[in-house]
């Protein structure tokens, strides 16, 4: 059972999420096709999903990142592409589990793109001094003053 399972376990799926000024999901798909890798690809509204043997997918990811190093973000997905257990077409609508995390983080992707570009250019972050926590004695004095003024 374990041996028979090995080839299936070698298959991974990755989400490619775009936050790019130069590339739309359709363009990404053509680039992936042009690489002629042995993977399954699905175009999505946010980019693409690719599924295949681990080494094929990882090599494709390396090649794809070069196209727009600061506009392409990648994470792994647990379920295979078009899996009926996750597909919204068969689950009666609603957001797919995992969507909300991507939605929340998608808002930060333009910031990340600029930050990664600046990191590669050697820009150091500006240090912001956090305001120190209020001293207990000062806080007590504020409370006493407030009570006194009532």
């Amino acid at each position: 059972m374990e041996d028979a399972d090995v080839s299936k376990k070698d298959v991974i799926t990755k989400l490619i999420i775009l936050s790019s000024r130069h590339m739309m999901p359709g363009d990404l798909l053509y680039k992936i096709y042009a690489l002629r890798k042995d993977v399954i690809v699905k175009e999505t509204c946010f980019g693409a999903e690719v599924s295949g043997k681990k080494e094929d997918v990882n090599s494709l990811i390396r090649d794809i990142r070069i196209l727009d190093p600061y506009g392409i973000f990648i994470k792994e997905r647990g379920f295979p592409i078009g899996d009926l257990r996750r597909c919204r077409a068969t689950s009666g609508g609603g957001a797919r589990p995992g969507f909300h995390q991507i939605e929340a983080e998608a808002a930060t992707l333009p910031l990340m793109s600029r930050a990664l570009l600046e990191y590669d250019m050697g820009v150091k972050p500006t240090t912001h001094e956090k305001p120190a926590k209020l001293d207990v004695d000062v806080f007590k004095k504020i409370i006493a003053d407030c009570l006194h003024s009532l």
């Binding site: 299936k8 792994e76 379920f79 990340m112 930050a115 990191y119």
Partner: protein, 150 residues
């Protein structure tokens, strides 16, 4: 290449940054993939079996809700493998029911209890924060305490 546990465990930004800086992100989709792509599912459709809460017993007592133990059955093996951790504190998208919330608290506790190198951050909301976020993660992943596990 060190194994870096990320929290939130399905974070796109953290998984991408860890991968980008040459390490292996430990994310929950990896564990989900092992479950849902096994040949001959023991417990269709998601293959969550009675064994899973038992695995979770290693991390949480029997009185703890089974939801916490079930989730720990997925996150626990990642914790065991982790050489270091990158944690975003109080991410908005991880609010949830008692099962989710308590699991998040337990994971954060276990990361600290394991005494592995850990970087704690907040999600960026502006360009300055994003620059700081990327810089700190990059420096942490290239630091000697993380690289010594390679």
């Amino acid at each position: 290449m060190s194994k870096i546990l990320i929290y939130p465990t399905n974070s796109l930004v953290l998984a991408d940054l860890v991968d980008r800086f040459g390490h292996e992100p430990l994310t929950i989709p990896q564990e989900i993939r092992k479950k849902v792509t096994s040949v001959g599912l023991d417990s269709p459709p998601l293959n969550i079996t009675p064994e899973d809460p038992k695995i979770g017993l290693k991390y949480a007592a029997v009185e703890v809700p089974s939801g916490v133990r079930g989730r720990m059955a997925l996150i626990g093996p990642l914790l065991e493998k982790a050489d270091a951790a990158v944690v975003v504190s109080d991410p908005e998208a991880t609010f949830g029911c008692m099962g989710c919330a308590r699991t998040n608290e337990l994971v954060n506790f276990l990361i600290r209890a394991k005494k592995i190198p850990m970087l704690e951050l907040s999600y960026p909301t502006n360009d300055d924060d994003a620059r700081d976020f990327v810089y700190k993660i990059a420096e942490f992943l290239q630091s000697s305490e993380v690289l010594k596990h390679e």
